[in-house]
Subunit: 333 residues, 2 copies
């Protein structure tokens, strides 16, 4: 089914049907990535729809393969049921390409739960890791920060958080060349005795580990640069992540209102726009590089549902980086 | 020990020794409040130190009593031990005044844990409420939002969250005159099935309650105006609260950096400063009105440790409002 020419470049599968702006923006992002000679891409989705998008652009001569997948898993579908029923969906077909070694990574802006479910069921968990986690690197002004779990597991055991910390440490070593990444445990206070029972237990286990554990960190430390990796349960991580997005929207709303009430502020707001944009963009990781699925046997990147072509290209860059540093392999030890 | 004249105005006790700027800013805040004829105040603390501060200002003729308390509980002390050992501390003496009916409320910018512990042990829990909670009203542009628990209980049972919802509903009815406050349950997704086991159980219980339960809300809804009350466990609430503070600091830092790199932006930043200040101030509730202790038999307000005179005055206004609407009484049914 593969129509492209074999290449020495990294090859990835991209879910052409996933996300609010699929397939248009997905195809545009893929074209931008191959134009920059980043990577070879297989677009996975309804062949006619994908080809139609490709035809809108001058894609002659560009190495973009299509693998047909007749079904689409919608954003609001229940992950487990959708993955089991829609075997011909772009997500299941894409993960299958990864499993069979046809590609080195899979990128999707589709239903996050479905991508996680398909990856876990089809690729299997990394040996020694009980629960996969969703993580993302936030490019704070103080340095990159990896946070996990951002929502794969609403209930976590202490053992899982220790696994997240180990994978996070390896990731920051590999991808950012850090010697001994500083691991922080998110809690409701810095003292060892603060936090839920589960967090207190995790604290003790991390103290005994060989990781560079710096102790508990608080919500404010997420932007303070104290840690290189912050681990938390998927419930707290998800709530935090979405709060960050909400606050970004609140800031934009407040600025718009100020300008509407006083047009003299328009110029000032325009001058400072790049600054606001960098702050807000920092809070919405999926806009710039996608989230990473830690603890499955393969490189899987989840981009934001509302990804535009730029966001898709950034997720592709993240995928390439993961592949080149063999992150998934490093987790296996 | 009371030296003031009896008054028909609401009388409250104010911890003169609590907070980073005690007693200076506390005394200044108290003077501002009595000057505005808001309330009668008893300053609780080391008499000499408090009197020295009062003497710096022209306090003749102002109704400000002092009740001596020889000890101080420091910010970093362990709450339970401190409350048990320091029976002459300003926190314990202040809560005792409230217990004996000498005052209608107690306000402190001191050790939050110690205030909660002293209030719970000395005043007792409200009948039917298992665990007191710390709540605060955020003045979002979309309307006031009450969030609780913000940190009193790191581990919560579903029953407690239902209690928080009931108290929150009564509070918003009483204080803001809302007919049927909309209650949201913080979760990692809007669907009923999202969230931890505890949150899913709470969801079912709230569905069966007589409250105006609107279902799960996400982190982004904190600033969206969808709910009037958002309930969560104290671990998540505390992490969120501190993230809000941290992001405010990040925004300020980004603006300072932008101005330092390009001085032409200084004027623009100055023009928009009130807008930034309103966004950041919204995130730090304790700066403007203090947090409320829900579920103890008495009106107790916790102000921010770094409160200045304005913040103290605002916490005093909050206390007066609670007293006038008899919030604590309403919780008892």
């Amino acid at each position: 089914m593969l129509k492209g020419i074999a290449s020495k470049k990294t090859k990835i599968a991209l879910d052409a049907m996933g996300g609010d702006h699929a397939p248009e923006e997905i195809v545009k992002g893929a074209l931008a990535a191959v134009d920059d000679d980043i990577i070879d891409i297989i677009l996975v989705g309804r062949e006619n729809a994908v080809r139609e998008e490709l035809d809108k652009h001058n894609s002659t001569g560009r190495v973009l393969d299509i693998v047909h997948a007749s079904e689409v898993i919608a954003m609001e579908e229940r992950p487990v049921a959708a993955v089991k029923e829609k075997r011909e969906s772009s997500i299941v077909v894409g993960i299958d390409l990864l499993k069979r070694g046809e590609v080195a990574a899979f990128v999707s802006a589709g239903n996050t739960g479905a991508v996680m479910t398909a990856a876990t069921l089809m690729l299997g968990r990394t040996k020694g890791i009980h629960r996969p986690a969703l993580g993302a690197v936030f490019p704070f002004p103080t340095g990159p920060l990896l946070c996990l779990d951002l929502g794969a597991n609403a209930d976590c055991k202490a053992t899982s958080l220790v696994h997240f910390a180990k994978m996070g440490s390896i990731y920051m070593e590999r991808i950012f060349g850090m010697g001994r990444p500083r691991i922080g445990l998110l809690s409701s206070g810095e003292e060892d005795t603060k936090g839920s029972q589960m967090v207190q237990k995790t604290h003790k286990m991390l103290r005994k580990s060989k990781l560079n554990f710096i102790g508990n960190v608080e919500g404010r430390d997420i932007a303070s640069g104290r840690a290189d990796v912050i681990v938390t349960d998927g419930f707290t991580g998800n709530v935090l992540l979405k709060l960050g997005e909400g606050l970004g929207e609140m800031l934009i709303g407040a600025l718009r209102k100020a300008v509407a009430e006083n047009p003299n502020l328009k110029e000032a707001a325009g001058l400072l726009e790049p600054t606001f944009h960098s702050v807000i963009g920092t809070l919405d990781y999926r806009e710039y590089g996608g989230a990473l699925l830690f603890g499955v046997n393969g490189n899987v990147i989840v981009a934001h549902g509302r990804s535009d072509a730029d966001a898709i290209k950034n997720a592709i860059i993240t995928a390439k980086r993961e592949v080149s540093q063999d992150v998934a392999g490093a987790f296996r030890g």
